[in-house]
């Protein structure tokens, strides 16, 4: 091998280092997307037939996602090491991803040991919390990496902007996982009683879900430089994933898919409002609107949190929508105002977040 030949890979790495970093960020985000899909499917599986072993298809999808994210973080590290410019700007993304992936990898054996010792585990358990925190951090790292790459390379008005949907969707889904684990009563087992206190859980769900919906939607809108359609696509994909993992596997509530898909309406309306008028008032209105629909967007599982406090009924899989619809008016009566306020708060915060992510001085 000649000296020039041996230098070729190094040269390639240096020339394409930022693209390698982007690829790493994309894989990290895509991996987390798989993890969240596997996680949501796993919850449904637990509700329907309680798997008692570690080796189940949702777990396989979940850990495939972890493997893809790991490859993504390694690529990000390689890319970052060889960056010639903007190394400092990408470092926060890399650091967050490294912490996140460490937690994710650690959660695997931790979960296996937990299952082996305590059998069926609840939603909120130490290994699951480790996993969810790792997911959330990796998705944040991936989102920052993708967003900054697009900003630095001035991809403001190109199709590449659609990568932002892949960047934000895992953040939304893993954030959902975190809020769900702190609010759903699925965590008591023979060994541990980790179910959150019902009133605390209700408050968490009422405040955090509207905030997360509004923040995710307005973040993708701002990061994409106010591009029309981004919110509808992001919202539509969220609804698709949630319906495929939480509604379709349960044949008893399959006919409620049409109800669930109606949630696309406020997402599209938000897009249209902001196409016509991008003023601060419009953004705040849209934030409030998106916050107000949280009980519908988080169908069916959010019902369990409210049922604990308002009805206390035994909800088996075939009764899910009976209890959900029995509760819908009461929940909205109590929760719609705080939900709107949290949506508005998220609209304001999204401006600060997007500026930080994009480092507006760039």
């Amino acid at each position: 091998m000649t000296i020039s030949e041996s230098k070729t890979p190094q040269k390639f790495l240096k020339v394409h280092s930022d693209q390698i970093f982007l690829l790493g960020s994309i894989l990290t985000s895509f991996g987390i997307l798989l993890v969240t899909v596997g996680g949501s499917w796993d919850i449904t599986n637990h509700l329907l037939n309680k798997p008692e072993t570690f080796f189940s298809p949702p777990h396989a999808l979940l850990y495939l996602g972890v493997a893809i994210s790991l490859v993504g973080v390694i690529l990000s590290l390689f890319g970052w090491k060889n960056l010639q410019n903007f190394k400092e700007l990408y470092s926060i993304s890399l650091k967050i991803k490294l912490i996140g992936i460490s937690l994710l990898i650690g959660a695997g054996p931790f979960d296996f040991i937990w299952h082996s010792n305590f059998g069926l585990d609840g939603f909120l358990s130490p290994p699951h919390l480790t996993l969810i925190t790792g997911m959330f951090l990796c998705s944040i790292g991936g989102m920052i990496g993708i967003s900054r790459y697009l900003k630095i390379n001035n991809f403001k008005n190109t199709l590449s902007n659609y990568l932002l949907i892949l960047a934000v969707l895992p953040v939304w889904l893993s954030g959902t996982g975190m809020i769900s684990s702190l609010s759903l009563p699925f965590s008591n087992t023979d060994y541990f009683e980790f179910n959150p206190e019902p009133t605390f859980a209700l408050l968490i769900a009422t405040l955090a879900f509207p905030f997360l919906i509004s923040l995710s939607m307005l973040l993708v809108f701002r990061l994409s430089n106010f591009r029309f359609g981004m919110m509808s696509i992001l919202g539509g994909l969220f609804l698709l994933i949630y319906s495929l993992t939480a509604i379709v596997p349960n044949f008893a509530i399959l006919d409620s898919t049409q109800f669930y898909m109606l949630n696309l309406i406020p997402f599209v309306i938000s897009d249209i409002i902001l196409l016509l008028n991008k003023s601060r008032k419009s953004l705040i209105f849209v934030g409030g609107l998106l916050g107000s629909i949280f009980y519908m967007v988080y169908y069916p599982y959010v019902m369990y949190t409210f049922n604990e406090v308002l009805l206390g009924k035994l909800v088996s899989p075939s009764l899910i929508y009976f209890v959900y619809f029995e509760l819908i008016e009461s929940v909205l009566m109590y929760a719609v105002i705080p939900a709107i306020l949290m949506g508005i708060f998220a609209a304001i915060i999204s401006e600060k977040f997007s500026k930080k992510i994009l480092m507006s001085k760039l």
Binding site: L48, L262, I269, K313
Partner: protein, 179 residues
């Protein structure tokens, strides 16, 4: 406006008017002996069935009001339910009132619950155990079955009889254990 009208008022009415599933449990029990000597064993074989609609959960419970703990007295020999059996000990929190607001009480004696999640219409399951009493006298066994969703009185079997610690009807089986 249309969205909120549809999701909060129109569709909920429509879904709530759908009929709920109505699974109906039933079981037959075969007792190998009605009288044994202390140190001997007897078998209790339960064949349970869902005679109604598809159900989410099918539970068959065998309780032992004369025991403080199951220990070596009960040994399961046949079990083909989909979920592992659940062993309850006195003091465990147990639920009842499945149709309305769920309530809970504390278990007064040990029991074993056999579970199927879900249960198809017409499905049959077997649950057999060997009992070796440790003292003489009458050995009592309570057997009952519950299907979830618990939509009517038929979601429980038997429909009448002795009430147990969950305020639910049970069939009582007695074996005389001679000293």
């Amino acid at each position: 406006m249309i969205y909120f009208t549809l999701t909060v008022f129109v569709l909920p009415e429509q879904y709530l008017s759908n009929e709920q599933l109505n699974p109906q449990p039933y079981f037959e029990v075969e007792l190998s002996e009605s009288e044994i000597s202390l140190g001997e064993s007897f078998r209790l074989n339960i064949v349970s069935e869902n005679r109604g609609d598809y159900g989410d959960i099918h539970i068959v419970s065998a309780a032992f009001p004369d025991l403080i703990e199951i220990g070596d007295v009960i040994e399961i020999v046949t079990y083909d339910f989909t979920q592992s059996p659940v062993y309850l000990v006195p003091g465990d929190e147990i639920s009842y009132g499945y149709s309305s607001g769920l309530e809970s009480t504390l278990s007064k004696y040990p029991s074993i619950e056999a579970l199927n999640r879900p249960i198809q219409s017409g499905a049959k399951n077997h649950f057999e155990f060997v009992v070796t009493p440790e003292k003489s006298g009458i050995f009592t066994i309570y057997v009952k079955s519950v299907d979830i969703p618990h939509t009517s009185n038929l979601s429980h079997y038997p429909y009448s009889g002795v009430l147990d610690h969950q305020d639910e009807y049970v069939l009582v089986y007695l074996v005389n254990v001679n000293p």
